[in-house]
């Protein structure tokens, strides 16, 4: 017997069908983003950055105008917010402001308040030196944590730093330090980077902020589309629960009917 259009089962069928169609796109987004998030480490999603202009615009990520740059003999070392560049090449993220950068015939030294980065002339990092742990103890006896205030060099190409109002020098490629009172030192001062470098670094800076893991997390939670997206994913979640329950009910109904039919058929054959 055909069910009437107003039968509760007919309504449940229709609701199940149209709810399924309505959440199909969201289920695909949820599943795909979920699978990818499960393999964040395998795909290095937290280390890979989004450089799509419209996604960066969507997130409101703007180019930075905070440049702190030092010109060495042949290179330009520039800090853009928390990113440091060797000419145009990205070097690393840092948490502190660069104090200065010097270049000798053999190496380049970048100074930060607590660390020195020793580099080859080609921009490869030789060693990152935590300065407080390497200064001679008698020179490092103040209670105040050691903080580099300036870096410079002289004609002999020795490296000099000032920290906690004391001056130290290293003559052996930053292997050892001693207190110094030399006067004729060329202390590095910041220099404005050329405009074309600024433009290139602004673009590079923007494309090193947002990683794929963040975007996938936001897609998964719906936050990518703001509060609306979050509510949409909430509704999708509720609808998925409804689909599961209605699907089970429909299956139980069919199975019961099938079993009843088989039972009646068997009975008829016997009789």
């Amino acid at each position: 017997m055909r069910q009437s259009n107003k039968s509760p089962w007919r309504i449940l069928y229709k609701l199940h069908r149209y709810t399924g169609l309505a959440v199909a796109a969201l289920v695909i987004v949820l599943s795909a983003s979920g699978i990818l998030l499960n393999h964040t480490d395998d795909f290095n999603l937290d280390q890979r950055f989004v450089d799509s202009r419209w996604i960066l615009d969507w997130y409101g990520i703007k180019a930075s105008s905070k440049f702190l740059s030092f010109q060495t003999k042949r290179h330009q070392i520039t800090q853009v917010d928390d990113q440091v560049y060797f000419d145009r090449a990205f070097l690393r993220h840092v948490s502190r402001k660069i104090v200065g950068a010097i270049e000798t015939e053999k190496f380049i030294v970048l100074a930060f308040p607590r660390t020195l980065i020793l580099m080859t002339l080609e921009g490869e990092i030789i060693e990152e030196i935590k300065i407080q742990e390497l200064l001679p103890r008698d020179l490092n006896s103040t209670n105040k944590p050691f903080s580099i205030q300036a870096i410079g060099t002289n004609q002999k190409e020795y490296v000099y730093i000032i920290g906690n109002n004391r001056q130290y020098s290293s003559e052996d490629g930053l292997l050892s330090w001693k207190q110094s009172k030399l006067q004729s030192i060329l202390w590095k001062k910041p220099a404005s980077p050329p405009n074309n470098l600024k433009t290139a670094l602004s673009s590079s800076y923007r494309s090193r902020i947002l990683n794929y893991e963040r975007v996938l997390l936001d897609l998964h939670s719906g936050r990518f589309f703001g509060n609306f997206g979050v509510y949409l994913m909430d509704i999708a979640g509720v609808l998925l629960v409804f689909l599961a329950l209605s699907g089970c009910l429909i299956w139980i109904k069919h199975k019961t009917r099938q079993l009843l039919r088989r039972y009646r058929n068997k009975k008829r054959i016997r009789s």
Partner: protein, 168 residues
């Protein structure tokens, strides 16, 4: 009720993470050498060492030279490796080609801090490096700290490789 409150506080403490410096490099070295720490020596990362280190780390080694301290029949290294996003600083003492002591000096991640516990680091005691550049001893992992455990194993292997490279 007090037990429930204590448990909640414990869970809260665990959830806020354990980003901290547990011991400075100097304190670690003093634990090995006493109050007079010898001057550090330098190991240059030559091409063969670089190739092996890259194999151990599964990424390029980020420096060309590293400092170490020499003991009687061994070396001490202070190395860093990223767990998930931030570096874990670890002190490793190698004696006769085997790990004598390993200690997490600074942990900056929000998860995986359990690797600092002695019940975990004790497993590395007397571990050496086999021909495949792997530890010759099984190290049990910790649920929820997979990346930190992996980082510590890499540091232990790297310290053993560096020690072996000195050809003392």
């Amino acid at each position: 009720m007090y037990r429930r409150l204590a448990l909640s506080l414990m869970l809260l403490w665990n959830s806020v993470g354990h980003s901290a410096v547990y011991q400075t490099s100097e304190e670690f070295l003093q634990g090995i050498f006493g109050s007079v720490i010898p001057a550090p020596k330098i190991l240059w990362i030559t091409k063969p060492i670089k190739q092996k280190a890259t194999k151990i780390l599964s990424h390029r080694i980020g420096f060309l030279r590293t400092r170490y301290w020499e003991t009687d029949g061994g070396t001490v290294w202070i190395l860093e490796e990223i767990g998930k996003t931030k570096p874990i600083t670890v002190g490793v003492a190698v004696t006769n080609g085997h790990i004598g002591k390993i200690k997490v000096l600074a942990f900056r991640e929000s998860r995986g801090w359990e690797v600092k516990q002695e019940f975990f680091t004790e497993q590395f005691f007397q571990a050496g490096l086999n021909q495949h550049l792997k530890l010759d001893k099984n190290i049990d992992g910790i649920s929820g700290a997979t990346l930190s455990v992996r980082a510590l194993k890499k540091i232990a292997r790297l310290a053993l490789l560096f020690d072996k490279s000195l050809n003392r």
